[in-house]
Symmetry: C2
Amino acid sequence: MAKRMTSSNNQTKRSEKSTRVFKPGTQKKRDEALKNKRQRIMNAALTLFAKYGVNGTTVEQIAEAGEVSKSNLLYYFASKEQLYIEVIQHLLEVWLRPLKSFETHQDPIATLSEYIEIKLKLSRDHPAESKLFCMEVVQGAPLLLNELESPLCELVEAKVKVINSWIEQGKLLPVDPYHLIFSIWAITQHYADFNVQINAVTGKDLHQPAFFNSALKSVKQLILGGITPRMTI
Amino acid sequence: MAKRMTSSNNQTKRSEKSTRVFKPGTQKKRDEALKNKRQRIMNAALTLFAKYGVNGTTVEQIAEAGEVSKSNLLYYFASKEQLYIEVIQHLLEVWLRPLKSFETHQDPIATLSEYIEIKLKLSRDHPAESKLFCMEVVQGAPLLLNELESPLCELVEAKVKVINSWIEQGKLLPVDPYHLIFSIWAITQHYADFNVQINAVTGKDLHQPAFFNSALKSVKQLILGGITPRMTI
DNA sequence: TCGAAGTTGGACTAATTGGTCCAATTTGGT
DNA sequence: ACCAAATTGGACCAATTAGTCCAACTTCGA
């Protein structure tokens, strides 16, 4: 991706902004503005990457969408690839948050119910994140694989244990916890990733409260209906 | 995409092969070989498009994977875009088949059960199709939108009516048929589209019979568990 | 065996694009 | 007001790549 590396400079520029080394102590607005700008660029990149793919997006488009010059963008991010990596990393963090806050001590049905709702809201409010994550994983997640293996894996394992303990206590019908988690991910993210298809078929999308509610209700019914213990006789 | 349109020729070449106009009647092997070759190229393209995206794939890669020269590929397909369109169209046909064969007169649970199984097998046996379809839709389905609106829409509507009639007959618990269909699509396709993530977490994939069976069982349990009528008392 | 269709390699072109470099200007904290 | 950092525009380069063109070779049906 990097074409010419002619002479010595490069990387001397900036690349590790955010913390001003010399002249310590006083300016804040400046630093904050910088962070905002970085954020703006990353947001623009996120949206475009999600819509056109990484290879289908040019840095000029990103710069325009982020309302900075191409030069300035390259001043903030060493390369398009670097920008992509930062976008993906930030994305992953946002994406794993809900699973981390998956509370273990509550009633299982309430817990899962809440998790489904959080995930569905995430699909509604952050569709670009969902889509880019989707595309990255579909394509083999070259950048995410490392992150996907260790942190996610352990996180999931922890939740699997909780679910299994619920089952042992009879609070949940027997079910494979892995498939349960995958199913929740699949359905909730589907509403973001395939919104075009859903819209083509129903004419609606998650931003219409009525549709959001019916989706939420149905998903809960389907997921929870198969695992909620019934009173027999 | 097409760069130069210099003079008159082009399109005179071939472009509408498959049916030999002059000299009608006799050669078959030839025609068949051509179809096979087209198929081979389209298969190679499918795999690569699914893995690297359309913009991330070069015609040379496709040619190599299809074991033809770049020249020859361009002899069969007028352009990369044209090739992509044909791949997508073929894909859509494969993709809608299961829904069409969704039988209406059987027992609802058996019908849905069978549909889930077909879809999950499709994910197992045609992951590239699933992934490319996924990527296309995620990116807004520029090429599929037309097809997605009319044919798919009507197809889904027909099934929705069937499901509703089942509910009226008390053979199925009340559920929004659209969300039911979306959920089945979401979960089953997830096993193909997100196989990298699933593999990272579980270390398994659908080609292992044990894993396929556990996935199938869980999906059926979750989807059907929430809509199967129970005997009360 | 004749000839048309199929096939190839290779040279070539035009467009796109990531990235460099730099000179000039603006901004904002001190 | 000073000065460093921020920002811009634009020229420019090198790599990639879709697609053209063509001459030569092979294949295969009639």
